[in-house]
């Protein structure tokens, strides 16, 4: 180190402040541990930015929301990069990990104490903190249309719970406040004495044999001057940067065994749908069509003007007329569980890791089918014009045109994205397939733990926030009970 470093001493260092890190911080701080949380992104007052807006995307997402997993086709992904992580930008939909997956993972990866009953007990506690519930009153029209289309086709749909808090007596779905980490677990942790360092990026962990002795960080200074080096010395380190940043940091620190491979995500294909009536644009639909779940799920996305513009641009076709009518449009998606997997690799000299993902032919076929199912659903719901996220479209207006999409969805024309990234470390006793033990302790280290979406051994097929927070609570309490 050429510059002089500020040194911070703490008992527990938590790297990252998203669903995993914030939960860990709150639990450990309330148990009396001395906790320091470092977060690469800035603190942004959760009330300062309009939810689900393009401004939110620019300020709270990494790379302004434009990262991509390379492959054929590439998959664009979005990660939060601010205090609260992706919980500040996600839809706030809440799904417990399906029981059958808990059982399957426990068996396949040999995870201790991972029964559905055990997990449910943790999930209930997290839900009591997060104001989990259904929207009061009628759901917004953009969401109700999913239910309406599904009912016409006889498809199963559900209204998902969300982490939104409503004032007593409010029956307007749009007037809830999303219970992000910046509103819940971070304030809890701080109230219990944790300190939070935003805009502080961990360059690498310093190790001595099987112990991590500290973290070398670079923190932005308030006056915009040169970044300051900070060394955090800690007895215990929890890495909670999410499924991309966690393995990248571990690799930068020389920890590579079973780290970064096996990345899973939910590849998603979209349709911008035009209806003959006005639609709401302030919230994300809470209905999901689960007829084809868990391998294929249909739902709705953020649909402000900017999002509709982005979705329309995906086809590369002329869409001026549709964009001018954006108030009658909304964006919907089909997401799949993928058989393929990806890799995160830290590249020396580059700040961002290289992320690759390989979709199988079965995955591509599932995406094509998802687009056809979604098209059929939206037409049944009354849509008059469907713009798929496929180069060259075509735009579809009636059911007998859907067949064309099967062959159009291929590796060169499909614009895919995801907001769910998991499984780049994986937990379990099976060392041939996991980077951490049943409670997130990195194999062969004494005081290094991972506690975020990287631990899920596979994609959950549902929004992962509930599973991430549930497992984070479980692992944090296991840590507290350890000698």
């Amino acid at each position: 180190m050429t510059r002089s470093s500020r040194i911070i001493e703490t008992e527990v260092l938590i790297i990252g402040s998203g669903a995993g890190g914030a939960t860990t911080a709150a639990v450990l701080a309330e148990a009396g541990r001395r906790v320091t949380v470092v977060e690469e992104g800035p603190w942004i007052d959760p009330d300062a930015v309009e939810p689900f807006s393009i401004e939110e995307m620019v300020r709270k997402y990494r790379h302004h929301g434009s990262s991509a997993a390379l492959g054929s086709p590439p998959i664009a992904y979005a990660e939060g990069r601010c205090v609260g992580g992706s919980t500040e930008v996600n839809s706030g939909l809440w799904n417990r990990l399906p029981d059958y997956l808990a059982e399957e993972w426990s068996r396949t990866y040999d995870i201790d104490e991972f029964s559905p009953t055990a997990l449910d007990a943790y999930a209930e506690r997290v839900e009591s903190w997060q104001s989990v519930g259904k929207v009061p009153g009628a759901p917004p029209l953009s969401s109700a249309l999913l239910e309406r289309g599904a009912a016409k086709l006889g498809w199963r749909s559900v209204e998902f719970s969300r982490v939104f808090r409503y004032e007593a007596g409010v029956a307007d779905a749009t007037r809830g406040v999303k219970q992000t980490m910046a509103r819940t677990q971070i304030p809890r942790a701080i109230a219990a004495g944790a300190s939070l360092l935003p805009e502080c990026r961990v360059v690498r962990l310093e190790r001595k044999g099987p112990r991590i002795i500290g973290a070398l960080c670079r923190q932005q200074t308030a006056d915009g001057g040169p970044d300051e080096d900070v060394v955090v010395r800690a007895d215990h380190v929890f890495v909670c940067g999410g499924a991309i940043q966690t393995p990248a940091l571990l690799q930068r620190s020389g920890i590579r065994r079973r780290i970064g491979s096996g990345l899973k995500l939910h590849p998603t294909i979209k349709i911008a749908a035009r209806f003959p009536h006005l639609l709401d644009h302030d919230s994300i639909p809470m209905h999901r069509v689960i007829e084809f779940a868990p391998n294929l799920t249909i739902g709705g996305s953020a649909s402000r003007r900017g999002h509709i513009g982005l979705a329309l641009a995906d086809s590369g076709l002329d869409h001026e007329d549709a964009l001018a009518d954006w108030e009658r449009m909304s964006v919907y998606y089909a997401a799949i569980r993928s058989e393929g997997s990806g890799r995160v690799r830290a590249v020396p000299g580059l700040r961002a890791p290289l992320v690759t993902y390989r979709l199988t032919d079965g995955d591509m076929s599932r995406l094509a089918r998802g687009l056809v199912h979604l098209g059929e659903l939206l037409l049944a719901a009354g849509a008059t014009e469907l713009h798929p996220s496929v180069e060259g479209g075509p735009v579809v207006r009636q059911t007998d045109e859907l067949l064309q999409w099967w062959n159009r969805v291929d590796r060169t024309r499909s614009n895919l994205m995801t907001v769910h990234l998991t499984s780049s470390v994986r937990m379990g006793n099976d060392r041939s397939s996991t980077g951490a033990d049943s409670f997130g302790a990195v194999h062969d280290f004494d005081n290094l733990r991972v506690n975020d979406a990287s631990l899920l051994p596979d994609a959950p097929g549902v929004n992962p926030q509930a599973a991430v927070m549930t497992i984070a609570l479980r692992n944090a309490e296991h840590f507290l009970a350890s000698p």
Binding site: L153, G154, E291, F292, D361, G362, M364, S365, R366, A368, R369, V372, E376, T399, D400, L402, L403, W406
Partner: protein, 351 residues
């Protein structure tokens, strides 16, 4: 429970049926068996050229031309088919596109769309034609697959057929359809595709290679036996929610299969070469490895695929179909191959 149901009386077969893949090898045989006794045999075929050959099977035959992946076509196929039995035989085994993606689109995607329409139409039993491929190859020549054998799908086709089975099982478990899964191995019989005619002709000329020592066992199924199995599964009280191997009575050694083909050709008056070229088992392994490598990049080469599988034992035990649904295959390999040879000769195909 199923043994009790095995002796329970049959249900009455509905007078309306839907057949997907009706112009295929099995479909042509099945439609001919159904047409005389049913009021309506609604058929899905991918290509209009197949329509005349199906329509001559009888006035009850009503053909819809279109793609099994097309929601609009399936609406037409399933219009007014409440309580009809669905025979889902549409599938791709050797993709014309030479791309493995087609296997998933048609075998998985097509099955999901057909299941969905069957449920919406309030159709009756859903007879799903699967394959041996979700199970791969037997570990030894004396092993026999039962319905409880573990899945070990063989390459993309096996994977696609396994995923299709899973869709049918799930739809049945949640009460969307009354599914029955039928697993036939290698077919033979009338309406065979050109590749099978070529197989018979190459054996006749003494040019079809025997891979390995010929002791590997193969279960085969005469199309007539398979139709019998499907019709039993349509009415047997025990069938819903179950899966059955449907094959000829016993598997054969592969060298016996080839010898039987030669005898059947001779019995139909054709001169047969006594030659039998042999390839070491290694050739089959090499082909299987090359096939697997190509399929991992999405490409499919039929000759490699066939050669790669010839080394293996793929043999099943039909006891469950016998006891639960009263399946009793009437035709032997010798008689069935003779019928195939006659069918070729009647159509002026050279063997």
């Amino acid at each position: 429970m199923n043994t009790d149901l095995g002796s329970a009386p049959d249900v009455t077969p509905p007078d309306r049926v839907v057949v997907t893949g009706a112009s295929g090898w099995l479909g042509q045989n099945l439609v001919r068996a159904l047409a005389p006794s049913r009021a309506q045999v609604r058929c899905l075929v991918p290509d209009a050229t197949a329509v005349p050959l199906l329509e001559i099977a009888g006035p009850s035959v009503d053909v819809v031309v279109g793609d099994v992946r097309d929601p609009d076509i399936l609406d037409r196929l399933f219009s007014d088919t409440a309580s009809a039995t669905v025979f889902h035989a549409a599938a791709v085994i050797h993709p014309a596109s030479k791309r493995t993606r087609e296997l998933y689109d048609v075998n998985v995607g097509g099955t999901q769309l057909v299941l969905d329409r069957a449920r919406r139409a309030g159709a009756g039993r859903f007879l799903h034609v699967s394959s041996n491929s979700p199970f791969g190859a037997n570990p030894t020549a004396d092993d026999r697959f039962t319905e409880d054998s573990p899945f070990a799908p063989y390459l993309a086709y096996g994977q696609s057929k396994l995923e299709a089975e899973e869709l049918v099982r799930r739809a049945t478990e949640r009460g969307d359809v009354e599914g029955v899964i039928l697993r036939p191995p290698w077919f033979y019989g009338p309406f065979q595709p050109a590749r099978q005619t070529q197989w018979l002709a190459t054996i006749r000329r003494g040019r079809f290679p025997l891979v390995g020592d010929g002791s590997q066992r193969r279960s085969m199924v005469f199309t007539g036996n398979l139709v019998h199995g499907l019709l039993r599964a349509e009415v047997a009280a025990a069938a819903p929610g179950r899966a059955y191997w449907i094959a000829d009575a016993e598997p054969h050694r592969l060298d016996e299969v080839f010898a039987t083909v030669r005898r059947a050709l001779a019995a139909e008056g054709l001169a047969v070469s006594g030659g039998q070229p042999r390839l070491p088992r290694l050739a089959g392994l090499v082909a299987a490895t090359a096939d697997s490598a190509l399929q991992s990049t999405g490409r499919y080469v039929q000759a490699l695929h066939v050669l790669g599988e010839l080394k293996d034992t793929i043999a099943c035990d039909i006891s469950r179909a016998r006891s639960e649904i009263g399946y009793d295959p009437p035709t032997t390999l010798f008689d069935g191959i003779r019928a195939s040879v006659r069918w070729c000769l009647e159509r002026g195909q050279s063997l």
